[in-house]
Symmetry: C2
Subunit: 334 residues, 2 copies
């Protein structure tokens, strides 16, 4: 059922089998499986996730490669609800481990100052990351190219940068290293720091050895039209010619609500999980970009499958067998 | 490129980066990624795989749940070829590890008695399994229901059996245990052995405790119409009323071509793999139903992603950096 501030009262006494934080590809996969296992689940989706930025998903089996992230989210959100999942637009502010259940405090709309609390036996953290983009005076100019010819994922989009003149935009010296990997797809690379970091002598030498120009002046605007880049204008007046770019400025993790929970093992901002996407907490699973591993849609979707299946196994094994109802006893005739 | 006996000569001197044995969901995912990494790959597909039997794929994010296995295979085979993969209809008879390469002997069509040999640096085993079905005098009658209301995967289709009268068809005593799991979805279960195994006293007692009738007479035919089961007729004249069924008779593994390769660790018929779908042989990856884990499309697709990505990383790290071509040196103007 689609929940909103108007009808969520009906679910305040429900103890869900699982609450899925994040309605991206991984969270939806978990919800579809949970619902088809007959388990009660709630997806809480804040909107504006990483997959919403995908103009097309070219490497995911079964889909036309022109399919956009928004189309996939729409289809699968509908499917999850059709199979029986609840779906709520809201922001998870905090989670409290109550022992057998979690209390999940959700801010539903701007007026919900106190937050609304839902309860579940299991928690699936699928709230992902959002890529940092270079901040400029006119962010619309950045959005005009991000997801089109200005990419954030080399594995996804390196192919579409083949032998083009490319910029790598890095916010730290370490992030510049992406240029030496992008070299596989194109050697025509210029590195931009947007004025965000110092670059040491060793890195300067390595860039020079590869023949990669380095510009440290802030980006003023991207040039081009109809989402097709032609260059990048810097504050010092330089215009770098480039038809594509890779932004490698790191990610913002949506994991604050997990920070007070005991028993979770972290690797930086990523959760450590086992081969069924379970964290080191027995009732918390993590998937997609929040966990260690490849940040690919296919991997997130599989991890959703695994998390839901393990939760189903746990709940099923702890349940009494259902009984044959007397009313439909007769099944064989001779 | 689509290869056949007519044009395969063009590829006999090629050393592929990877040959993918099996063009199901997992193999196609690997091929799409390999091609988008700019690697040379060949998919060898024998046809009639497990996914071809899927009338709809209801639990895979992004697809309309009515989408059939055949539609997905068609779309993604086209995509893989469009991105640059080669695709050949043929049967892999044998693989020889030559040290740096594999010699993969493929039977292409009935006339190809000697087999045709292709070479690759890496091998991706994605040739899967096929489910054993109960053999009857009229197999068409079995196929009329298999994949529609007579299922082979409880995780996939348990939801669609909810509270229905169901038969569990098992070929060994151990396989009968599926009935106690199917209980989650429906308690109205009758067990059929198709006359294939002895059932011990302990199992008989357990079935009686659950209230599950056991019939050991061979199946003669399925009753119903338009792919909708209504019952199962046995050789002794019994007709068991059932609107759905689960076949749990094990699988036939397509892994013979790997049996002479040294260094592979097996768990029964499944290959042991690491978290990037690599087997214990450094140049062989395995995915989908051939490896340990959940036999789910989403998992096979993710494993294809991982195998291709690891192969790309290996090959990339062993390559010299590409150089900036003098002809397009100028990128910045002030």
């Amino acid at each position: 059922m689609k929940l909103s501030s108007k009808n969520l009262e009906a679910r305040l006494d429900t103890v869900y089998d699982a609450i899925v934080v994040g309605g991206g590809m991984g969270g939806l996969s978990a919800a579809i499986y949970l619902a088809r296992y007959g388990l009660k689940c709630l997806i809480v989706e804040k909107g504006k996730g990483r997959s919403m930025w995908m103009q097309d998903l070219r490497n995911y089996v079964g889909l036309d490669p022109e399919t956009s992230g928004i189309e996939i989210l729409k289809q699968s959100t509908k499917d999850a609800i059709d199979w029986g999942a609840d779906h709520l637009r809201g922001f998870v502010e905090d989670v409290t481990d109550e022992g057998d259940t979690f209390a999940v405090k959700v801010k539903v709309g701007k007026k919900d100052e106190e937050g609304t609390t839902f309860r579940s036996k299991y928690l699936i953290a699928a709230s992902g990351v959002i890529d940092k983009l270079p901040e400029t005076d006119n962010m619309q100019n950045v959005y005009d190219y991000a997801g089109y010819t200005l990419h954030v994922c080399m594995i996804c989009d390196g192919f579409d940068m083949w032998d083009q003149k490319a910029v790598v935009i890095a916010g730290t010296e370490g992030q510049i290293n992406a240029a030496f990997v992008l070299n596989w797809f194109t050697p025509y690379i210029t590195v931009l720091t947007h004025g965000l970091c110092e670059v040491g002598d060793e890195m300067r030498q390595k860039l020079a050895d590869h023949g990669y120009p380095l510009y440290e002046s802030p980006i003023v605007k991207f040039h081009g039209e109809k989402h097709k880049m032609s260059g990048v204008e810097l504050a010092d007046g330089t215009v770098v010619e480039a038809t594509t770019g890779l932004i490698n400025m790191g990610s913002i993790y949506h994991n604050q609500y997990l920070k007070n929970i005991e028993g979770l093992e972290w690797n930086g901002e990523n959760l450590v999980t086992n081969d069924m996407a379970k964290t080191t907490h027995d009732r918390i699973f993590a998937l997609g970009d929040l966990k260690q591993g490849l940040n690919q849609v296919s991997v997130a979707v599989a991890d959703g499958t695994k998390a839901a299946t393990q939760i189903w196994r746990n709940i099923r094994r702890a349940s009494e067998p259902r009984k044959w109802d007397e009313n439909i006893k007769e099944t064989a005739s001779v």
